[in-house]
Symmetry: C2
């Protein structure tokens, strides 16, 4: 993993950006591109005419089409922002009309499967720059988009061995222009890290909220009423886009099942401690998790410190 | 469960309030009492001299002592705010010096065990008004206290059969003065509802953060770095006070184990769906959980609507 020097890269300028899918992530990126004048034109592609019309209405696309093959004509940047399960189909559809110099990137939450699905359809492997902006909200669709979504958030790029350096540099610069902290790693490593930081938490949140959804109706009403504290946070996570998350779990199966196995073992230990009244085990774990929380806060503060130093024109080698 | 008409109850006025324990919850309540002039004097009781000194410094106590027996002398309201596991010992300690008309309440997150532990030591059962403000942050200690902690949050009172109506009314009025939405239910019912809305989410958050804490060090650093999205929320929950939560799990064992059993079954179903690539099961669940999220938001909005109507002097029967 390599950190990037934010101040050194040029602002990228594109002629025509094709946004394949125009939901929360691609819509927000389109807002950044529009707001900063990073492209002459944005073409939105969606299966639904109504979504295209809405994107134009919101000013995040200049025009739109339903066919990916048509959308990418003349584009020098293509951003695939569909659910991960549809990426292969999209790549196949656009293969014949793609410009030979067009950069292809994506915003999917998993990377090995996306690369596997897209690569066979690309005429030039060197133009592929797989990416994952680690940002989002529980809302979806173009109306949910906003141009500060990526500010201060990580964006992980997972170039393949053949990725051209100039293509990588341009995509990096784009995400930096959006305010992201860009780093690079292999797709395999990305998928393992995200399995524990994002995919497993989502799976667990979906589960517990589902457990509540199965309660009898009068119980459920009370649960919603008194859901302050822990449960509210879980419902927010479990309110995320169903199709997107279905695809993530199906396509990052091995890493998710591995982390889920560890989690289940650890949960059994706590279950046993509760059953047998073993307060020491509980308190000892809860004390350690508090340290992790402090680590998360420190990591955020470290970034703010670095950002402040950079804003002042300096550099911070502690990165 | 009964909703209370906020506007109708008088502002309660106490002579001397004894705060047994002066952490986040009792400290915040003390700030409300001080800020609104609801008592002539607040006496803080803590095992640690340094905590007492800090509470006085922060202006949330007029004086303090380390002995509960001394703290309650002349008090007409005693608020027990220690971890749940210590409540019985505290009640025993103060039994000989308690005023016969003093109201005894508490702020513990579980209620049946607290009642069982406190009741044998009270000379007059009718003065006990068990309570649970459903509010908190990950921080603890008097420095974490703030006077808006309870605004718009639920406070559940679980009176016993013998609880005097005037004592109940005064404690209700106190929490309403703090901005809480007060309701009453039996202690048993409270403990079952909270097991799913609060205790199980905490247990799960503790578990997954613990799973991360067990990763090798270089992996852990990356997890903290990319913890945006799901995992950050979990670390916040898992940063809560270790002793307080140890006591909650040990003292609400049956309800927590019952809910944990349901959760584990549901998680196994999802695990199997992922392993076998069963996208329909996943998407169908994720769609249902999104509905639950909407229910939580609607519940919050319903309250805001009601609060607005009340602020305008009206009433909202839809409550």
């Amino acid at each position: 993993m390599t950190d990037i020097d934010y101040a050194q890269l040029p602002v990228p300028k594109f002629h025509r950006v094709a946004m394949i899918g125009i939901g929360l992530i691609n819509g927000s990126l389109a807002k950044v591109i529009k707001g900063k004048g990073l492209a002459d034109e944005i073409v939105a592609c969606s299966r639904r005419e109504s979504t295209i019309a809405r994107a134009i209405e919101l000013g995040i696309a200049d025009r739109g089409v339903t066919d990916p093959a048509e959308a990418v004509i003349g584009a020098d940047l293509v951003v695939i922002g569909t659910p991960v399960g549809a990426v292969g189909k999209v790549a196949k559809a656009m293969t014949s009309t793609l410009d030979r110099n067009a950069i292809i990137t994506d915003v999917g939450s998993i990377k090995t499967k996306v690369i596997d699905d897209v690569l066979p359809h690309l005429p030039f492997r060197g133009r592929l720059v797989p990416g994952h902006p680690v940002a989002g909200t529980e809302n979806s669709g173009p109306d949910a988009a906003f141009d500060t979504l990526f500010v201060g958030r990580h964006c992980i790029l997972t170039p393949i061995a053949e990725t051209d350096q100039d293509a990588l540099a341009k995509v990096k610069a784009l995400w930096q222009a959006a305010g992201s902290r860009v780093s690079t790693m292999t797709a395999e490593h990305h998928d393992r890290v995200l399995a524990i930081t994002s995919h497993l938490p989502h799976l667990i949140a979906y589960t517990i909220v589902g457990t509540v959804a199965d309660l009898e109706e009068h119980q459920q009403t009370e649960v919603l009423r008194y859901s302050a504290g822990g449960f509210t946070d879980f419902t927010r996570i479990a309110g995320s886009d169903p199709v997107m998350w279905r695809d993530i779990f199906l396509n990052n199966k091995e890493a998710v099942l591995e982390m889920l196995g560890r989690f289940s073992e650890d949960l059994s230990v706590l279950q046993r401690a509760i059953r047998w009244g073993d307060g020491e085990t509980l308190e000892s774990l809860f004390t350690r998790t508090r340290e992790v929380r402090r680590g998360v806060i420190a990591e955020g503060q470290a970034f703010q410190r670095q950002a402040a130093v950079e804003a002042a024109g300096g550099s911070d080698d502690r990165g």
